[in-house]
Symmetry: C2
Subunit: 244 residues, 2 copies
């Protein structure tokens, strides 16, 4: 595990990066901790950690149904709701009414940022355009930004491109919207597969360690990958490295 630039500091590369596009779930916000806390408060008898992880586990398979064409374009709010309805019985919550389900489903709009995020983004914003690049829909990301005080320059989403990451349309779409080359954009994410797909499109990449993304009791592998341009403990550490 390294802390610091994977490559030696490269002024050319530093100068060329103009846009930082951030993955959101796990990278910017603590989905596990936020959901578990809300479930624990609302439904004390439920295993809140398991509930949060079960909900998230349905995420990739649900998007795959859209990617494969089995479902037409469906926003994440609606995919979250389908997954929620499917997991409620196994947690003894199949008696929840429609308004309770709607309220619980919107917990994804109320996720809390990791402690370094607001200050880190505020620093990075001084030097770069900072935007989201998330599979979350626009309204989810907008409400989350208001909830957490996230100072995005703009909110970009798979919903704008009608394609879910890791579709190249999403990564290249950011460069096209800003009328820059892909190497002027850097994806910032806590997931190596997302970063690898961005790199294949010519973007720079920065990995962020979020060891407790899946909960305190389930630390994840945060090994560095040499293919990333940067590797940082958190957003403050990334801002340090980028001179922001």
């Amino acid at each position: 595990m390294t802390h610091g630039p994977i490559e030696s500091a490269d002024n050319f590369c530093m100068k060329n990066i103009q846009i930082l596009a951030f993955d959101v779930f796990g990278t910017v916000v603590d989905w596990h901790g936020s959901i578990a806390a809300e479930v624990r408060q609302l439904y004390p008898s439920v295993d809140a950690n398991a509930f949060a992880r079960a909900w998230r586990a349905g995420y990739q398979p649900a998007m795959q149904r859209v990617r494969s064409g089995e479902l037409g374009w469906t926003r994440i709010d609606d995919l979250h709701r389908m997954i929620l309805d499917s997991i409620l019985p196994q947690f003894g919550l199949d008696g929840l009414g429609e308004s309770e389900r709607q309220h619980l489903n919107l917990v994804w709009h109320r996720l809390n940022p990791w402690p370094d995020v607001v200050q880190g983004l505020s620093r990075l914003k001084q030097k770069f355009v900072i935007c989201t690049l998330s599979n979350g829909n626009i309204s989810l990301l907008t409400h989350m930004a208001k909830h957490g005080g996230l100072p995005w320059d703009c909110v970009l989403s798979a919903e704008v491109f009608h394609a879910y990451k890791p579709d190249p349309k999403t990564y290249l779409g950011v460069a096209q919207l800003f009328d820059v080359n892909p190497e002027s954009v850097m994806l910032v994410a806590a997931h190596q597969d997302d970063l690898a797909a961005a790199r294949d499109c010519g973007l720079h990449t920065a990995y962020i360690e979020r060891v407790h993304e899946f909960g305190l009791d389930m630390p994840k592998d945060i090994s560095a990958c040499d293919d990333n341009t940067w590797h940082a403990r958190d957003f403050m550490h990334l801002a340090d490295q980028l001179g922001a």
Copy 2:
């Protein structure tokens, strides 16, 4: 000319409005003053007021070429450049090189907000989701927000909907993205035709007086239209009326 709500205060209507979508050119930023000032500084021999107005005069005809299908989807940056190239000769600037033209064209990314805007938006943001709904492209609006310190919750553009205002896809698109009824959205604009088109889609509307949109020497008609939900001198006055 009235100052205040056109309708008597209506709590039901007030409570239902969740999203304020702002027209940008003329409503949020002083395109005429900003462009004239930059042209005056760069090219002192040019009639800067006439230059700004000539550039803007090409705007609706250029978008009409997209609406009619004569041109495929073309972002405003590119339409601005086509208009710029066409007006340079009449101002004796046909000798401008490519890099000067590129720089000048991006003056639309550097437009300054009217004096009430940043404080007014900051107040309105406490109570509503505030977003752009402009024919300007995403990068233009994003750079402008950084330049002027505009605290948008999200940046929406005709570019997201691939349709230029007054196409109903744009007004209804905001409601659809936020999963609300059209009457939960209010368009805020300094142009009655934009507001009328939004109203036809079921949105609430607020008119903002920008008497000097076309320059100090060319005051425009700012008469109230009874069909608007609100009529305000500026964003502070709108915030006063909306209790924000």
